[in-house]
């Protein structure tokens, strides 16, 4: 218990760092993921190609490598941003590939006739997707997106190695100060559990709430 209370500020700062990284990256990943999923089901071949390349490159690259690419690569093109923004870009883009595939699986659960009916009424591709297909896909993508965001919360620990303040990184400070390493990690784990279990709870609620929406 002492480890926690003696270092409350360090833990709290790390906890907030992880929370912020997860929240902002999740927002980016959700927006990008839905847009890329739209590309992947688009009637325009170059857009489908772009979507496929996006997903396959990001999904098949180790996240740490992606961090190096962003943190070391972007400055070479004159793009110098705070480490937090670099971390959000790496995490958000990486996770968007998984969100995209979850959304695409959801789109595939909606009968094709729904889209055909929308198109036959003169709706554009965007209207068909936004008004008819995605709302019906929404419920079935809640569970996989929940899992993906939990993975994102845990993946955010990598940012600690790239000068971003986050929860896992606090162990370095604490071990230097000579605190018990086991308890240091126990409290870090508790911090992650609070975040990941909260995500689970939110998604369980969403799933229940949208259960009857048809």
């Amino acid at each position: 218990m002492n480890v926690l209370f003696d270092n409350w500020d360090t833990y709290w700062e790390g906890f907030l760092g992880t929370l912020k990284l997860t929240g902002v990256s999740a927002a980016l990943a959700l927006v990008l993921g839905v847009l890329v999923a739209a590309c992947r089901v688009s009637p325009v071949a170059p857009m489908r190609m772009f979507g496929a390349v996006w997903v396959n490159v990001l999904r098949n690259t180790p996240l740490t490598l992606l961090f190096f690419a962003v943190v070391l690569g972007l400055p070479r093109f004159g793009i110098v941003l705070p480490f937090f923004v670099f971390a959000v870009l790496a995490l958000g883009c990486y996770t968007s590939a998984f969100i995209c595939e979850a959304v695409r699986a959801g789109i595939n659960t909606v009968p094709t006739g729904q889209g055909e009916a929308a198109r036959s009424l003169g709706m554009t591709f965007g209207q068909t997707l936004g008004l008819i297909v995605l709302p019906q896909a929404f419920r079935s993508v809640i569970p996989p997106i929940g899992s993906t965001l939990i993975a994102l919360a845990k993946n955010s620990a990598i940012a600690g190695s790239f000068s971003v303040v986050e929860l896992l990184g606090t162990y370095r400070t604490l071990s230097e100060l000579g605190f018990n390493i086991v308890w240091t990690f126990v409290w870090i784990a508790v911090g992650y559990l609070i975040i990941t279990l909260s995500i689970s709870a939110v998604f369980a609620y969403l799933e229940k709430h949208w259960e009857v929406a048809r």
Binding site: P111, E116, A117, A118, S120, L121, G122, M123, A213, R214
Partner: protein, 262 residues
């Protein structure tokens, strides 16, 4: 049956105007090695009711779906009101807004109420006001005998009711042409007539209609012309009385003998 259409059975289709609305020329399409549409030439005039019949796999549904480009074609041309069908995009969406389509499986938007199903496209595509769209939607629902079902979800309706909502949804766009792709094939027998009644009254009002169906009674009484297809080709194209009473091709005679005498 409080919700059955109240319009009396109209006598039959009105005369066509002789002004071509849909023109297909030399249309070909393959599914892999299967040649589903072979050199199709077909002209449908304004106010004409054309029924497409033929054995399953003859290409009639595919033909119907090429007219609003839900199916693409490989060669030939399709024009609607003189305009060739555009490529995928805004222009195609505008054209589809002018062509109503009724599907075998209804395809009502499962997450929207009956009223929202009918008002959605007028509001989003035609940019009509909500109040105006709802007023028109209620008139159309009343017309198909479903005014009291406006706030239900599609899954709460019978098949016949769903199909009548689907017809109202298409009519809400004030289409120039209505395509019906086997509109009664997924219905229980006792629900077929309520849908056919609505279609008959549309035909009598002068709506241009292309109907893929197995309902020979409807073809005989409501169509100006029967187009008989087999193996991707148009085999006969004649007024219904002539076609049913004295089919010219062996293929049509064979088809009719199988469906009319069992």
């Amino acid at each position: 049956m409080t919700d059955a259409p109240t319009a009396p059975t109209p006598p039959g289709p009105g005369p066509a105007t002789g002004r071509p609305l849909v023109v297909l020329q030399g249309v070909n399409k393959h599914y892999g090695s299967l040649h589903v549409l072979r050199d199709i030439d077909l002209t449908v005039d304004e106010r004409e009711v054309v029924v497409l019949i033929g054995p399953s796999g003859s290409g009639k549904s595919t033909l119907c779906r090429t007219i609003n480009r839900l199916e693409t074609i490989e060669s030939g041309s399709i024009t609607l009101d003189g305009q060739p069908l555009p490529e995928e995009g805004k222009a195609l969406a505008r054209l589809r807004a002018e062509v109503g389509m009724v599907f075998q499986s209804f395809n009502l938007f499962a997450h929207k109420t009956v009223l929202d199903n009918v008002t959605l496209a007028p509001i989003k595509v035609r940019k009509r006001g909500k109040a105006e769209a709802e007023k028109r939607a209620r008139e159309l629902l009343d017309r198909v005998g479903l005014a009291d079902q406006a706030n239900k979800f599609p899954a709460q309706l019978s098949g016949g009711q769903q199909q009548r909502v689907a017809i109202a949804r298409s009519l809400a766009m004030d289409p120039k042409l209505m395509l019906f792709d086997e509109p009664t094939s997924a219905l229980d027998p006792e629900m077929i007539n309520e849908v056919l009644e609505v279609m008959r009254s549309l035909a009598a009002e002068g709506m241009t209609m292309i109907v893929v169906t197995h309902e020979m009674g409807f073809a005989r009484s409501a169509a100006n012309r029967v187009v008989f297809m087999a193996d991707g080709q148009i085999v006969e194209s004649r007024p219904p009385a002539e076609f049913f009473d004295s089919p010219q091709s062996a293929r049509a005679r064979d088809f009719l003998s199988k469906i009319l005498h069992h």
